[in-house]
Symmetry: C2
Subunit: 380 residues, 2 copies
């Protein structure tokens, strides 16, 4: 009997299905990672194991067939506005790589209070002491960039990091001002653009940063996980230092990072991604309109106003009130939306949740707004 | 004009094609990573960005939909013969994770002389001093396990590592004997089974190891990159230590590792992989027969004899002689084989190369043998 249950659950592995395929996607983690048609084809073409490495030349970013060298050494630096770029397993791995090569256990770094949790965990892995530059608190949670300057003066950190935008409120702090501060005090500056690179125009050099980090699966229409790391030329020898024994292998990358198909989807989507950042004004205007419409229903948008990013965080007391008196409790919202073909807030959330308007068009967003209206009147 | 060239090369990215698809595959890096049909379906189903994390529960190995928890916490430990298992970006990242959590800069470790280059680079990333346990040299390159004992006695290392089998000769050293030595001297023991786990039966506990490492793309019919790491319960708190700030996030894994489709292919192929290791005797017999047939043509098999793994290394002076007098030089062999639908030695190699018989059946291998014969008579 136990054996039968085991076999059944084993066989289930061979038939894995995704429940949210084909829905209108508002889930902030997902809207920037939907594959292009080119990436879908590449996924099938390069699915087998190590197929990216058929023509290995000793290191991933030197492979010419498929054209990884061209992508990583020419297109990517141009796109990121940096001197040197490489491929990482994701944004968090890029952060760890930079921290691990520039700082050592016991060193201090400054980060914005809105940073992703992985900024902290990456710092813990290196043994760093993390100091937060505070935000303004409810409801806008703005990070005051001048907070960096005063903290740097108190005790110069080894590194500073800014999340641009943060993944909680979609705030876009003054990254350029931080570039001036970093240069003034000569502190290496990491711009974490996991929700920027591939969605909106952003160049490392224009921000005055030393490093720029992007996420393929979050914002560059790629299968997960894959990330990009750009840097100034002066950091190449530190961060991309070669092995003392194997002269073509980069120590921090353990030789090669994404030796598989997520990188191929990143490359296949790149021509599209490079273009789509030019539509950013329309993305912002769509997000502002959507936010204003939802506020009319009693939702309250947190974070900066007017908002300048598709990632929106709402307090939704009207939905929370309903959840307190329905049988499904917090899950009613997820179910009601899913029944309408919409995938947004995490199952269970009604009090406060994040939505992203990046992947939906105005017609779909109109349908989402109407759906929220219909749900509210159904229960009120 | 420059702009036109750029656009052309940019557009090429949207149409990436793999040249070796559908060929008889003898390339050792590739034979264990060919996707099952179930994995091919899963690849399409979960291709989009972060789709694995639709129902995030805070950490990757706790996700129940798809059934990652079941896979990582039940099936995988059973399969690996260990107490606790987790998912890594690959075998090299698993090695780094263990080294980084158990040792610190300046510590020494012992590794076999046949180790993969990434063992060295992972150790360099931690700042470890690496001592090699020598092999017997040409032609068998056997690692004498008792070499570990004498080196441990000289100076106790922080860790020992054995490559089982190594990726150069396909030798299977006495891993069980090393388990006894590790226990006698109380030194943590990593078994790197990148070419074992998923191909042949191997259990950590039977070998007396503390850690076992496998590679999804190398030997578990998965898209790259993804790996598995199994360990004794006593190491869980060290290697999988939780963040001091985010109590459900493992520091060494930066929260979550393979948050994307390679993990899904690993899971989808698992029922097949679990079964295929039971055919190992036939795999070995096939490899021995193939090796003997090629030796009749003047090739010389290096590594252990009789050979006990599908990874075979040949010295091929007869092919090298030809390369010296043909127009294509070393590339003639790659071209001749490819024209016959065979993908094996790296382009350019004729003097010495590796082949793996894992993915080809006896009929296909017979065709490969005949093809080598035909190539030899064509040029002689």
């Amino acid at each position: 009997m136990a054996k039968q249950i085991e076999n059944k659950s084993l066989q289930k592995l061979a038939n894995l299905r995704r429940q949210h395929k084909g829905l209108i996607t508002l889930m902030p983690l997902q809207t920037g990672g939907l594959l292009t048609d080119a990436a879908k084809e590449a996924l099938t073409e390069f699915g087998d194991g190590y197929s990216v490495c058929d023509f290995c030349q000793g290191s991933l970013c030197n492979v010419t067939n498929p054209a990884i060298r061209n992508f990583a050494q020419e297109f990517l630096p141009q796109f990121l506005g940096c001197d040197v770029a490489t491929i990482t397993h994701g944004a968090r791995e890029a952060k760890f790589t930079v921290m691990h090569s520039l700082a050592k256990a016991g060193d201090s770094i400054l980060v914005d209070a809105n940073r992703h949790y992985t900024t902290i965990v990456a710092a813990e892995r290196v043994g760093l002491h993390v100091i937060d530059v505070p935000n303004s608190g409810y409801p806008e949670f703005r990070v005051d960039i001048d907070g960096y300057a005063s903290l740097i003066k108190e005790k110069p950190p080894k590194l500073i990091l800014l999340t641009y935008p943060d993944g909680n409120y979609g705030n876009l702090p003054d990254a350029r001002r931080l570039g001036e501060i970093a240069q003034e005090y000569n502190v290496p500056y990491i711009l974490n653009g996991a929700y920027a690179v591939g969605r909106m125009p952003v160049k490392m050099e224009e921000m005055g940063a030393d490093f720029i980090i992007g996420s393929g699966h979050k914002s560059m229409a790629s299968a997960g996980p894959v990330g990009v790391l750009g840097m100034k030329r002066k950091w190449e020898e530190t961060v991309l230092k070669k092995s003392g024994i194997y002269s073509n292998k980069e120590i921090e990358l353990l030789g090669c990072t994404v030796r598989g198909v997520p990188l191929i989807t990143l490359m296949a989507s790149f021509p599209h991604v490079k273009e789509r950042v030019n539509n950013w004004d329309e993305q912002v205007s769509k997000a502002q309109w959507f936010s204003a419409e939802l506020e009319k229903l009693g939702f309250k948008q947190l974070g900066e106003k007017p908002h300048r990013h598709d990632l929106l965080h709402f307090d939704t007391p009207v939905l929370y009130e309903i959840s307190k008196r329905v049988r499904e409790r917090g899950y009613f919202l997820y179910k009601e939306l899913k029944a309408r073909g919409i995938w947004g807030p995490q199952p269970g959330l009604t009090k406060s949740f994040k939505l992203s308007t990046f992947a939906a068009d105005r017609q779909q967003l109109g349908f989402v707004i109407d759906s929220f209206k219909a749900i509210l009147s159904k229960y009120n």
